[in-house]
Subunit: 410 residues, 2 copies
């Protein structure tokens, strides 16, 4: 079986302990069989049984678990660079939305796009994300907003999942916004989601999670409660966009409905965050969205005090976070939110896995987990996120195969 | 002579007009002779005389002038990743400095480092900066802080300049901070700078500019006035670090002494900025430093209203801006400071050239200027800084030579 030695520090990122506990092993080795990790520990203790396969040398590099982007809106058509400039000149997200721009223009283009074109785009994005060390990606629908197009997006993800290197986890986000044809008839759209879209997606086994954008301009707490209940009955686990622009009580709702995660949380109350911690809901922070929207992000100190587990993701989408650069999101989690590098790393590995129900599969370098790992050109996780460079990823192993760069023979 | 066609948009970035005027030419061509641009314009108008050399095809890519990083502290030994974590936990830059950490630890390591080791590190950094499209770099001394070591750093730059691809512009920053051996004797150190370091550097022709860090914990306005006067007498043009952490009136001083630029300006007053505009001083903003130090950066609106020309640079240094990623600085100039992408581009080309007295040589794609240009994998400058990706630089031409990537034959 293959083994990799010459690792100056390997961060195990076990799913336990505090946010900053990333379990470094110095002068480490890791061995795997097929797509699973067989052994991890100090190289000096590597058993002879694990030395009989191809032996690779990390050349003193740092090893971290394959990164997990646990919140993306991966499949969409078009871009919205022109709005970026409008926002820089002072227009707000809500103003652009109310004027019929923003998300609605992406919905129109995505509905018009053939599935094959969306698949090609997703595969292109995923290839570039892989080069950054991202080996697991959550992907939401939400630019279809009718039965046919929401299913089209989820089918795009099924097709992409069978052709990409990453592990892809699909989420139904039919309740992203009210589509234009339901303007002033939000309740009718909520009924469509509950009565048709959720049952069709669940019957076809196309989604694992049911997500709702809970916001003044999107869906109310009561809408969300009804949608989550309908999803739960058919096996879809709740997830939500909560308290991004206004505090609508999304964090408390996440705790109430037992969501796997609540995401954004820029405006959440301390009591909401504590309720999430108590209910085991993962808090997903999205610093790129805060940066692009020019909003103060939730500070690490508040998250720490609440005791909640924190994941960090990109929110990749064409409006509020048009970047899939997860290492940049981690650097921003440090600089904008004042997380430590170790806390940020835990947020894109162990706790990101928990935010998408994949904790038993990925996110930690432990025997039995998938052999997804990244070799970094950095002497430590602190140095990686402090001396920030465009891409420090020297090689990526996914499911036991070197998929980016090449491993050097020992 | 070589010519490049197939350019969807070429941004000329002429040294005229407003901050956002970047002079796009659609379906453009550019031709050069030796290291100089010979012709730029719409491809349909390319004269036959410029078609007789090797012809290259940009493949529909966007072309911008080679980027200029007009504020770096390139030569230093060691790193300070451990302080990054301390700062994230709440320690301030001044607290770390007062406790004897911070810059003083870099000074100690830089003094101990052999010149050859510093040259090697500089060349490594410059190679990575070149891959990002950076073809001109200003580099400050300031970690030597005694006669021998300040000269050592400037000699390192002279050696590096003869071996690197970039155009390197050296600045004497002996007045970066008071060295430990002059603790409580700042006036004596200012005399050393005036009586020995400036004359020695000027005599040897090792620096173009004389920079002073004007700050409560560094040098006063009166210190700076005396140092600039001494530099001026020997041909060194003033430049200053102004109003970064506290407002000490640095912007007004820059106008008074006719500095080529004043840099940072986070705390400058509106009247200080207007005085700079009136005196033709370029304002250099350093958004990476604002981000790493968790300080509100100066907003584009205030700079616009003052009428000052704005350059954007990295401030690359091991303390407050440990990244040489100029494209990231431009993206942050947009997201944190609300500059438009075009304004940011002008800030890293035409106006950055003016901030280092190189406006007649680089920063604009005009006949007679150096043939320094970047081929971007982005359909426009708006798309480049909106859909932010780790490195969009497909190829770099410096002094007429393809130095990163390869140009495809037409």
């Amino acid at each position: 079986m293959p083994c990799l030695t010459g690792i100056s520090i390997l961060y195990q990122c076990r799913p336990e302990g505090g946010q900053g506990d990333v379990h470094p092993i110095y002068d480490a080795a890791i061995a795997w069989t097929g797509d699973r990790i067989a052994w991890v520990g100090p190289a000096a203790q590597l058993p002879a049984a694990f030395r009989d396969g191809p032996a690779f040398d990390a050349g003193g590099r740092t090893v971290i678990p394959g990164l997990i982007d646990c919140h993306t809106h991966l499949a969409f058509a078009g871009w919205r660079a022109e709005e970026f400039e409008q926002k820089l000149k002072g227009a707000s997200y809500l103003e652009i939305a109310r004027a019929g721009g923003g998300i609605v223009s992406t919905v129109r283009k995505t509905r018009e796009a053939p599935a094959e074109a969306l698949v090609t785009r997703c595969l292109d994005h995923l290839g570039r994300m892989l080069a950054l060390g991202v080996t697991t990606v959550e992907a939401k629908s939400g630019y279809g907003l009718d039965l046919a197009n929401e299913l089209k997006l989820l089918e795009v993800y099924r097709d992409v999942a069978s052709r990409c290197t990453q592990r892809l986890v699909p989420t139904l986000l039919a309740a992203h916004t009210t589509p234009p044809e339901y303007k002033d008839r939000r309740a009718d759209y909520v009924r469509l989601v509950i009565d048709e879209i959720i049952p069709a997606a669940a019957r076809a086994g196309l989604a694992r999670f049911c997500d709702v954008f809970v916001e003044e301009t999107a869906f109310s707490i009561d809408d969300a409660r009804a949608i989550f209940a309908a999803g739960r009955r058919l096996g879809l686990v709740p997830k939500l966009h909560a308290d991004q622009i206004t505090d609508t009580g999304g964090a408390a709702l996440a705790a109430e409905v037992g969501a796997v995660s609540a995401d954004h949380l820029e405006r959440s109350t301390d009591s909401g965050l504590r309720a999430m911690a108590g209910a085991g809901v993962v808090a997903v922070t999205l610093p790129l969205a805060s940066l692009y929207l020019n909003q103060p992000p939730v500070q690490a100190r508040r998250l720490r005090e609440s005791g909640v587990r924190v994941a960090v993701a990109t929110d990749f989408n064409p409006g509020s976070a048009p970047s899939y650069d997860l290492p940049l999101a981690l650097m921003l989690a440090c600089t904008l939110q004042r997380m430590t590098p170790a806390e940020a790393l835990k947020g894109a590995t162990a706790w990101a896995a928990h935010a998408i129900g994949e904790g038993a599969e990925v996110g930690s370098l432990l025997p039995g987990r998938r052999a997804d790992l990244v070799l970094l050109e950095a002497e430590s996780v602190e140095q990686w996120l402090y001396h920030y460079r465009p891409n420090c990823c020297a090689a990526v192993v996914a499911g036991g195969q070197a998929v980016v760069g090449a491993l050097s023979p020992a």
